[in-house]
């Protein structure tokens, strides 16, 4: 068992990075993830890490430097948020296309405009199709545990795909929680040594990275890349179990909270799941069969497993911390609903946008969602497929 510490989510990520001790970190500060590279710089200055920290002039350069270092054969990490993540955009595709297992801590934050530095999922959801593995954490403990696992997942020979581990801006990143910090050596042993596939610096075995692929090659490479991303699902499960065997905290593709016989189910990701669990507990005490399906692995999307886990539900509400931006609903909603289409259940599925730009989501708001689900089951009618939680003025 690890040592109990009271630290923020950012510090949890920084300690994971300290223990992983990657060869290279290239990073540019942006709220709310700034404390991560800041703490890492301190660890390096104090001689607790020997990582090469490259301070760059933008996040585009940060990811570019990460790509170069990873192609050279290094174990590489970085951290970012919001507009920084958005500025990395084209490089994110290049990292995944080149199959470089870079691991990135993302402290999820709203995108401008209007300017807002607070938590929501606009950044990671916008980047959901960049070919990266995406793991979403509920709290500091998970932010720490997931980063350690992500290294092992990304570097797996069948995967070789970059991975991001998200935590919620401020809700998690700046909140002091009690979590378990594991022994340095035990973590190093768990992740093991990294053997790059085609290191550019191995002059005995020369290789070209980043060449162009004409129309008669590109398609095959992209589908080869897709296979690596899809194969990571199995590795996520395997590593989650190994992590449990080693450190006592087990992880799967998702977390089911009182879901087995649940009739009213919320599907959500991130820190709101903590609030939802409290509400579920209260409702259960009153005999109401409420449950939570917490998304952990968002990319690749484990649609079969998630749909299977939702079969007992009589009504489902999917919470998206991002605007649907013109789609039928938020990204989590559309994917969950699509996954259910191939299964037996015809339970109504509704969608809420919540928590944009750091808007607080409290137990009473989650309670109102469960009340709506109950009403849907009682009346057999869905009044609103899409609604907003804790928004001033009624959405019409």
């Amino acid at each position: 068992m690890g040592k109990k510490v009271a630290l923020t989510g950012n510090e949890a990520a920084a300690h994971a990075i300290r223990q992983i001790n990657p060869d290279v970190i290239a990073a540019f500060p942006i709220t709310p993830s700034t404390p991560i590279p800041q703490a890492v710089a301190q660890f390096i200055a104090d001689g607790e890490m020997d990582t090469e920290l490259v301070t760059v002039e933008s996040e585009h350069s940060a990811m570019s430097a990460c790509i170069g270092a990873a192609a050279a054969g290094g174990r590489v990490m970085t951290a970012t948020s919001a507009n920084g993540y958005a500025l990395m955009w084209e490089m994110l595709y290049i990292a995944s296309g080149m199959r470089l297992p870079i691991v990135m801590a993302v402290v999820a934050r709203a995108l401008s405009a209007p300017l807002n530095i607070h938590g929501d999922h606009s950044d990671i959801m916008g980047g959901r199709d960049t070919g990266w593995i995406q793991i979403i954490s509920e709290n500091s403990q998970e932010a720490y545990d997931n980063l350690i696992q992500a290294v092992k997942i990304a570097e797996n020979k069948d995967v070789m795909t970059p991975a991001l581990v998200a935590q919620d801006g401020f809700n998690t990143s700046h909140t002091i929680e009690i979590w378990e910090l594991e022994d340095d050596n035990k973590v190093k042993e768990f992740i093991g040594e990294y053997t790059p596939l085609f290191p550019l610096l191995n002059t005995d075995d020369p290789v070209t990275h980043g060449a162009w692929a004409p129309p008669n090659w590109y398609f095959e490479h992209k589908i080869n890349q897709l296979k690596g991303l899809l194969d990571s699902k199995e590795v996520v499960e395997k590593v989650g179990k190994e992590f449990g065997d080693t450190f006592g905290r087990y992880y799967g593709l998702y977390e089911d909270y009182k879901l087995d016989d649940a009739e009213y189910v919320i599907v959500a990701a991130g820190s709101v799941c903590g609030t939802t669990k409290d509400v579920v507990d209260n409702l259960r005490e009153n005999g109401i069969k409420a449950g939570l399906l917490k998304i952990r692995l968002f990319r690749p999307f484990p649609y079969r497993e998630l749909a299977e886990a939702l079969q007992s539900a009589k009504a489902i509400a999917v919470l998206d911390r991002v605007s649907p931006a013109g789609a039928q609903g938020g990204p989590l909603f559309t994917e969950i609903r699509s996954a259910l289409y191939d299964t037996q259940t015809r339970a109504p599925v509704i969608n809420y946008t919540y928590g944009l730009g750091g808007r607080d989501t409290q137990p009473r708001h989650i309670n109102s969602v469960f009340e709506t689900l109950k009403k849907i089951v009682e009346t057999g009618k869905v009044e609103k497929q899409f609604d907003c939680l804790n928004l001033r003025g009624e959405w019409r």
Binding site: T208, A211, E220, N224
Partner: protein
């Protein structure tokens, strides 16, 4: 060399290339709309064209001298002409359509008739 097209589950991960020089399989000369024509009579053998050509399409003979243009790979960008410092220029661009059916010698005469 004919290139062997591999299936999606046969290609190297990350589109890495282990076999050097395979850009030879890609004949960039097929893009050409205009072509540079070379005049050995005024060429001062500075080799600027060879340095600047992005497709290594300037031919060099066994003595290390400029020896013409490899039209299999010359994509017709015109950089060599831009860079050529001799007065008059020893490289000039002409439309591919105008070059059709003519030998290099004929083209040279046509293009450089006033530059002796």
């Amino acid at each position: 060399m004919a290139e062997k097209l591999l299936n999606w589950d046969e290609v190297l991960i990350g589109a890495a290339i282990k076999e050097p020089g395979n850009s030879r399989q890609y004949e960039t000369g097929s893009w050409r709309v205009e072509r540079p024509v070379w005049n050995p009579d005024t060429c001062i053998q500075c080799m600027f064209c060879w340095v600047y050509c992005p497709d290594s399409a300037i031919l060099v003979d066994e003595n290390g001298k400029m020896a013409g243009v490899n039209y299999t790979f010359c994509k017709g960008c015109g950089i060599c002409v831009e860079q050529c410092p001799s007065k008059p220029k020893s490289l000039k661009m002409i439309l591919e359509a105008e070059a059709k059916g003519k030998s290099e010698e004929e083209l040279r005469k046509e293009v450089f008739s006033e530059d002796k």
